[in-house]
């Protein structure tokens, strides 16, 4: 059992982290929405943050977060789409259709609406 005092301290740390992580995410979203021009980032070598729908075919990316509702988020998490997972976009159905992605060695089709809520970054580690 944690003593009361200790847990209070922990709490403060928790809330600090929360602010920090949320803050970071927001900044990342800001960056990604402002500079949709991919080349801009490539030139500078900064990690590129975008939603899964914006990725190119065959591109490998790392999941940053999922912005969906409770149920959908849990389902995606259960299927392995959690922060840090590497996703490879396999293809896209025409007319703004769903996406086909490879996660954890198996292929999933995901509706476009949901895929646009999956935030990914492309960094050196997955630039294979």
């Amino acid at each position: 059992m944690i003593k009361f005092g200790a847990s209070k301290n922990l709490n403060m740390i928790f809330s600090f982290f929360q602010i920090k992580s949320k803050f970071l995410l927001e900044i990342k979203i800001m960056i990604s929405s402002r500079y949709k021009n991919h080349n801009y980032h490539k030139k500078r070598g900064t990690p590129l943050i975008k939603c899964l729908t914006e990725c190119d075919k065959g591109e490998k990316t790392k999941v940053l977060g999922v912005n969906a509702g409770f149920g959908a988020k849990r389902r995606l998490a259960n299927l392995g789409i959690v922060p840090g997972t590497i996703i490879k976009k396999k293809r896209e159905a025409p007319f703004h259709g769903p996406l086909e992605i490879i996660v954890k060695g198996s292929t999933l089709a995901i509706g476009r609406g949901l895929a646009s809520k999956i935030l990914v970054e492309c960094d050196q580690t997955c630039d294979l």
Binding site: F14, R75, P98, E100, S106, L108, I110
Partner: protein, 717 residues
């Protein structure tokens, strides 16, 4: 000895078998549970290469090494969290009294995702055997697994299985017997199950003794010491701390929660995860409310700490643990080396943004073309046979003999009509549908059609029951349970019931196809699909709620297994024969009697305002439309009988426009009785009735429109 075992099922034990073992097959979708089930029980559950075939649990039995096994095939699920209805049902079933042992079927080619579910099952602390299936495919990729190591890690039996060949399937049962006898998992892995089999039967009598001592009144779940798996079932230090805290609270009040079969730790995790279902049953007094409150607080703390929601945290931890296990046990694991195979090329072209749709259309046209060509050829042969057989019979007994009319024209005419007019179409049709199912094409169709289906208010998965509906609407409507929400299920059921099934197709091909040409068949189908689109649009408008997004696994293409296909086609055709043929023959006789005594007249006259005035059909078809409610193919058979007994061909009985209108009506006017019943089961009687009524209205409107359009057109141009 005198007291009964605690198991419900064991009461059936009447001394004939020594023991009864209840086994549930659980695992992700499309891993091969039903193949194993069919191998073990000899039953024929639907098998195919797409996720979500089994929608209801199915029970089968077998006797093996002196035990009676009750085996239950469950729908495939991804997790024990509650995303879909199936998951709740499966979860409750697995922890219920009825299951002694779970066989967790795992797709070896997709270990990571499959083990996620295994981890969740482990939390239920039910005796379990891991069956790693599809080892043939894995080994073809030159990858192998370290089974000894896996057993060490999971402290449970882990067995390689190739379900389609039946390899390793019965070893699962041997393992189950051992689990039951010794109540603890054994830890020696014997390569090649055969030795073990002999060893088991040799030792059988020795074991009998020990078994009698300890096992007779036991319940496997009760005495089974679940191995300590805390080393792998750990979700990180912070989460574990919280779980432990909750566990203490739950254990304090454990007697209150005894009605749940779930182990305390599982309850703690699920409450922490905010699982609605568990919280709902848990939320009944102050103490439990206190626990829920506490869990809420913990959840918030954890979420704040990680900046992620709780399910993501726990899922990540599980996947981390799985990754470690995979690194230790998968030999030569290198997903990058898999080169582009033929399957992938086919995959590429069938999901191509242009060719994909071309192929989709070709597939659907191909289904019909194949069926028509084969069916037409065979149908001609059967018809000739009937004609040739008729000549001597008419010659000896006379054409107007009462008994000849009744038995030959009625009964045998019905039989030949059914075989030559219906069966010859139905069998090739089922065959090609099975091939399509087992190849793995269906998810691709769903992928391509997702966008289009959103227009009518559902996501792409609906296309799967709809394509299956080409075979028979009844199982297809049952298959609509793969849709996640009630709303989508309702829409899918309505759309599927409008898909022209094999029976409708025989009528259309046998009438319009044979006498007017395939172009007119196409015309009819275009009308039919426009109706589906229209109904979908309307339903989307009137059904409240949002359309959920598609989440579906796409499995690799596979060469369809000939054994599976032949067997499934045979089973489905057999079912058709036994259900339909007797009805057709009896109705054939009935029709003859009615014709002889002129009983058709009144019914037809009552219906004539609709059939004759509004639709312009010949007066005699009225009664067929009523028969058609029972089975749609009947209408064609009865028409043939009628024509035969009147001594005319169908072409003389009906004009081309009448054929077209007649077929349109048959296509649309009612989902056959069996379909209406299954729709009611899936949704409600009210919904089923309203679908049926609206379809009658639609059919009459469109049939009338076509007829009057034709009249208008011919009179003025």
């Amino acid at each position: 000895m005198s007291c009964h075992p605690p198991k419900k099922k064991s009461n059936k034990n009447n001394g004939k078998y020594k023991d009864i073992i209840n086994i549930a097959l659980a695992g992700n979708p499309n891993v091969g549970k039903s193949v194993i089930f069919n191998q073990l029980t000899g039953l024929s559950q639907t098998i195919g290469n797409w996720p979500g075939k089994t929608v209801e649990r199915m029970e089968g039995h077998l006797n093996f090494l002196g035990y009676q096994f009750n085996i239950v095939d469950l729908p495939g699920i991804y997790s024990l969290s509650t995303y879909s209805l199936e998951e709740i049902v499966s979860r409750e079933y697995i922890v219920s009294e009825e299951v002694d042992i779970i066989i967790n079927v795992i797709d070896a080619t997709n270990l990571e995702r499959n083990l996620f579910f295994t981890f969740q099952l482990l939390e239920l602390e039910v005796p379990m055997i891991l069956a790693i299936n599809q080892m043939d495919i894995l080994r073809k990729r030159k990858i192998d697994l370290d089974f000894k190591r896996l057993e060490e890690i999971f402290k449970l039996p882990v067995l390689p299985v190739v379900a389609v060949h039946g390899t390793g399937v019965h070893q699962l049962l041997e393992e189950a017997i051992e689990l039951v006898i010794f109540h603890h998992p054994h830890s020696h892995y014997v390569e090649g199950g055969k030795n073990k089999h002999e060893h088991l039967s040799h030792d059988y009598h020795l074991r009998e003794e020990s078994k009698l001592k300890i096992a007779q009144e036991r319940s496997a779940q009760k005495y089974f010491q679940f191995p300590d798996l805390s080393s792998i079932l750990s979700y990180g230090k912070e989460v574990e701390l919280k779980i432990k805290d909750l566990l203490i609270l739950i254990n304090e009040y454990r007697e209150y929660f005894l009605q749940f079969n779930y182990p305390s730790r599982f309850l703690a995790i699920k409450i922490l995860e905010n699982d609605e279902e568990i919280i709902n049953i848990f939320d009944f007094d102050d103490k439990s409310k206190h626990i829920i409150k506490k869990a809420e607080k913990y959840r918030k703390e954890l979420e704040d700490l990680h900046g992620e929601d709780i399910n993501t945290i726990i899922s990540s931890e599980i996947y981390n643990n799985i990754h470690k296990i995979i690194e230790k046990t998968v030999l030569d694991y290198n997903p990058e080396t898999i080169k582009e195979t033929l399957a992938e090329k086919i995959d590429h072209i069938t999901t191509h943004s242009i060719w994909g749709y071309v192929i989709l259309v070709l597939v659907i046209v191909g289904i019909y073309a194949f069926t028509f060509i084969v069916g037409d050829f065979l149908g001609g042969l059967v018809e000739d046979l009937f004609m040739n057989l008729s000549i001597p019979i008419y010659a000896t007994y006379g054409e107007d003999n009462f008994w000849v009319k009744l038995l030959w024209d009625g009964a045998m005419g019905g039989f030949f009509g059914a075989v030559g007019g219906v069966l010859v179409y139905v069998i090739p049709f089922f065959l090609i549908i099975e091939i399509l199912q087992d190849s793995g094409y269906l998810p691709r169709a769903a992928f391509l059609m997702d966008r289009v289906m959103h227009v009518i208010g559902v996501h792409g998965k609906t296309i799967i029951p709809m394509i299956l509906g080409f075979g028979c609407n009844v199982p297809a409507c049952a298959g609509c349970r793969i849709m996640e929400t009630e709303r989508e299920k309702k829409i899918s059921v309505a759309l599927t019931s409008l898909v022209p099934c094999a029976a409708v197709m025989t009528v259309v091909l046998g009438l319009v196809g044979r006498y007017l040409g395939l172009l007119w068949v196409l015309f009819l189908f275009i009308i039919n699909f426009s109706v589906i689109l229209l109904v979908g649009r309307i339903l989307k408008k009137i059904m409240p709620g949002e359309c959920t997004e598609l989440i579906m696994e796409m499995h690799d293409y596979r060469v369809p297994n000939p054994n599976v296909i032949v067997k499934q086609t045979y089973m489905r055709s057999k079912e058709f024969i036994f259900k339909a043929l007797p009805i057709i023959i009896i109705l054939g006789i009935l029709l003859e009697i009615m014709l002889i005594f002129n009983l058709l007249e009144p019914i037809n006259i009552v219906l004539s305002p609709i059939t004759v005035l509004w639709l312009g059909l010949p007066v005699v078809v009225g009664v067929f439309l009523i028969y058609g409610i029972l089975r749609k193919e009947l209408t064609l058979v009865l028409l043939a009988i009628l024509a035969a007994s009147m001594g005319v061909t169908i072409l003389e009985l009906m004009t081309p426009i009448q054929m077209i209108v007649f077929c349109l009506i048959i296509m649309l006017y009612f989902p056959c009785l069996a379909t209406a019943i299954i729709i009611a089961k899936q949704t409600s009687w009210r919904y089923s009735l309203s679908i049926s009524l609206s379809e009658i209205v639609i059919a009459l409107l469109i049939g009338g429109a076509v007829y009057w359009g034709y009249v208008f057109f011919t009179n003025f141009f």
